[in-house]
Symmetry: C2
Subunit: 262 residues, 2 copies
């Protein structure tokens, strides 16, 4: 730990990653509810920042409530919240081929863009690739041909896995993206962690500066590197152990984090 | 060209890549039949080496004949020819999860191994990933979980694209492999080009030493680097231009290659 307990306890806001830190699959991470409750008792700001490419804020907030954790919709951020805006800012109102779930498509439409069906991939000017439970060779072909022909390539995240209960996993958005990247010969623009925009949006909604807040996450690549880039304190949750020194603080359990904050 | 015309004409055997050099999709590459006919008139040995992960030698030889190019089955090599043997040598008789086409499955069975169905991926000790027109999120999940749990990971090739007529393409075996590699956290053992075994088998069947033979291919990564590694002359077929200096000889058309050999 490269940070004193006193410095840690001086922080005014804590941003939690969801998948793997607050829940795995459909069960709460042991101790997560308790550390969140403590932070709120202490009057600190708490928010949630997930790289989930299949769910918008309202869906993630509903899952938090279902698992017994209170949160306002505006305290939960996903890359889909800013996807439509990023596309509009960088490429204007676009014809988008969306490879992913229904909430990815809804986020594109809400941004004012139109959706291109998979069999008309040639009309797309932007291709968004999220985690896609309906991923297929046909969808891989459509996405990579559209990008090879000049369409922009965007993704919510590059996370290789979606952690589930009991150490199991599903392939992540990053796995689907790597297939498209290989066949298209292009690398995507990444919307979510570790890129700065979502961290900055979370800080803005908590009305805090980066130095006043910590990111609690289980991914060195997404959470820890991303938090350090914007100047936040980086707390690595590594139940199976992790590399020392990459984060300001490393904890093996949420109970340990709670003790450090008491 | 770093090789004299005289040195080129002294070569006794020529190995041709198929996809992109002899045919694209279902049409012959212009001039390919003529250069092959010339080499045979000159009494040189001609053979074919493809990285195709979906077809065995007999299928590739039948396609050559259909397109008007004569070849014996033993003069056509694909990674599937040695797949079963490589698995047996490295891991013994195995329970194999095969993600790919029916000829990939047949090659595994011919090697004496058994096939594990996708929904019983946990029983696999080896996972083979070829180009898979039926690729899906379910198949990606099965392959990456089996590998993450300790199964060996093998692929015929890492080629990112399968070239088609008119500059179009399908995603290649390498694109499917990258998705599995990302989610599993492992890199595969590669059976085909640019690894040496298939080049060495081709040389053995032509009864030639590496210095006596050339590889004609359109992929720098697979054909040119692979040929150089075993000591063969490397001839790059680059209709759209290519990097000078990576191959011994670079030609923009098969007609140009024919002129060099006359």
């Amino acid at each position: 730990m490269t940070m004193s307990r006193r410095e840690l306890r001086a922080l005014r806001g804590f941003v939690f990653d969801l998948d793997g830190c607050v829940w795995t699959g459909d069960i709460l991470v042991p101790g997560a509810a308790e550390v969140l409750a403590l932070l709120r008792q202490q009057g600190r700001r708490v928010s949630f920042l997930t790289n989930n490419s299949r769910a918008r804020s309202a869906t993630m907030q509903a899952k938090l409530e279902r698992l017994g954790v209170e949160a306002a919709v505006e305290d939960v951020l996903t890359p889909l919240e800013i996807l439509g805006e990023v596309i509009a800012t960088r490429w204007g109102i676009s014809r988008v081929l969306a490879i992913g779930g229904p909430e990815l498509e809804a986020a594109v439409l809400d941004g004012g863009h139109t959706l291109v069906p998979v069999d008309r991939y040639g009309e797309a000017t932007v291709v968004v690739v999220g985690n896609d439970f309906a991923f297929s060779y046909e969808r891989l072909t459509a996405a990579s041909r559209a990008i090879a022909a000049g369409a922009a390539f965007v993704t919510p995240n590059l996370d290789p896995r979606l952690p589930l209960e009991g150490g199991d996993f599903l392939p992540g958005c990053g796995a689907v993206v790597e297939a498209v990247a290989a066949a298209s010969g292009a690398r995507p623009v990444v919307i979510g962690k570790p890129e700065p925009p979502l961290f900055e949006l979370a800080l803005g909604r908590m009305d805090l500066r980066a130095e006043e807040a910590a990111m609690v996450g289980d991914s060195v690549d997404s959470d820890i590197r991303g938090a350090r880039r914007v100047g936040m304190t980086a707390i690595l949750f590594a139940p199976d152990g992790g590399l020392d020194g990459v984060a300001h603080v490393m904890v093996k359990s949420m109970a340990q984090l709670k003790r450090l904050l008491q």
